[in-house]
Amino acid sequence: MSAEILFAKGYSMLSKRIIACLDVRDGKLAKSVQFVNTRDIGDPVDAARRYYEQGLDELVFYDITASSDNRRILIDVVSRVAEQVFIPFSVGGGLRSVDDCARVLLAGAEKVNVNTAAVRNPKLIAEASRAFGAQAVVLSMDVRRVSPSPTIPSGYEIVVNGGRTPAELDAVEWAKRSEELGAGEIVVNSIDADGMRQGYELNLTRRIAEAVRIPVIASGGGGAPQHLYQVLTEGRADAALVASMLHYGTYTVREIKEHLAERGVKVRRTWN
């Protein structure tokens, strides 16, 4: 067989990723998260393992711990997850320096998630990207819809501090800037859609996806498999973050993936 035949052109795309988001407070899943199976209530490691076994593609842990003393507990969670879950996962929440990032990576995470700290200090993206490679740096952005203005021409504004403080930064501009600084992926979280379970913010997701050449992960609003279908096709996202629809046991990873596969979306079919 000649090399020319072997490397002939094709048109395959990567599988679309389903990523579960776990909010961790003081080493436990945040209170808003309830599980059908009472045995698993509260333990992020158990939840991670269960989703992994269901065929989940990736995990993200957000540390919403109030006190910095409890950071060590998160590192312990990361280590225990890395012992039993063999898919990529990222960790975010309160990472302010390259040293903070190094600690979670050494504990076994593939990627770090930066959000407010990167808005305040954009150099953090560049420094982390240089230290660990762009593939390890995920920029998360919380975005709110506003009236377009000279400061916010897209009508989508970055907010920080868990959605409380407007950053006077245009989301599309911030996405492009973060790519230039060395971010490897962008999580686009719509504050407007978050928690509504009425579907992702398709227009916002598509605007960001068309503005950058790095993968875009849609977040906020996923309540049913058809919402993932919409955002992975019309919304042009490479991956979708899911939380409550898994945590409440409304759907399993497999049900979501079967829905997507039936409608022609390429997903990793672990159930075959």
Binding site: L6, S15, D57, F86, G108, E110, G133, R213, N272
Partner: protein
């Protein structure tokens, strides 16, 4: 006992944990003597080809790996470890280990919708059978993160390919060396199966 070569190029922790999960004894070592005398070697790595080669040379690990290869030690390269076993990488125009003749080009894609790095889950197409790829099914997918890929000069050294506009080699091998561009330690059950297969491989093609 599997020796995982430590040369400060990427996350060895996840490889070690995957082996421990499988109940396979392993040690992480930066000692050239331990690499020379190893029963089995895993050669992982993420990062830049030039800096990886520099560290390997400084520590004498390049010669140790060649010695292990020559004496028939089963070796598994992962990610960057599948690239720098070839003679050259276009990344930083870097002369590499040369265990297999070939080069590592960067993806050059025409479709603007395809992003570089190639990052995420993708299927692999088996080209030739190999003990390490035993029981890998057509639908199994593996986790990739890379902008360059290994291209052996002789296509007989390609055991599996993956498709990303082009077909590129995803698994290469020669004699007692086998190397995969993806991360078996992060590829769920399919990846663990591959690591388990490596632990039982005698190093003959």
């Amino acid at each position: 006992m599997i020796t995982i070569i430590d040369y400060h190029a990427g996350n060895l922790t996840s490889v070690r944990r995957a082996l421990e999960h499988l109940g396979l004894p392993c040690r992480v070592s930066a000692d050239p003597e331990q690499v020379r005398s190893a029963e089995r070697v895993i050669f992982p790595g993420v990062g830049h080809a030039a800096s990886a080669m520099q560290v390997l040379r400084q520590r004498g690990l390049d010669e140790a790996l060649r010695a292990a290869y020559t004496r028939g030690t089963p070796i598994l390269g992962i990610c960057l470890g599948s690239q720098i076993v070839l003679s050259h990488s276009d990344e930083g125009d870097t002369p590499c280990l040369g265990l297999i003749d070939g080069n590592c080009p960067r993806f050059s894609l025409t479709d603007p919708a395809l992003k570089i790095p190639h990052m995420g889950w993708n299927a692999v197409q088996l080209i030739q059978p190999h003990v390490i790829l035993k029981d890998v099914r057509p639908d199994d997918e593996f986790y990739f993160v890379h902008s360059y890929y290994p291209q052996p000069a002789d296509s007989l050294h390609v055991f599996a390919s993956a498709e990303y506009e082009i077909y590129f080699p995803a698994a290469i091998g020669f004699r007692n060396l086998f190397a995969v561009q993806f991360h078996p330690e992060k590829s769920g059950a399919a990846g663990l199966k591959l690591l388990s297969n490596f632990a039982g491989w005698e190093g003959v093609q």
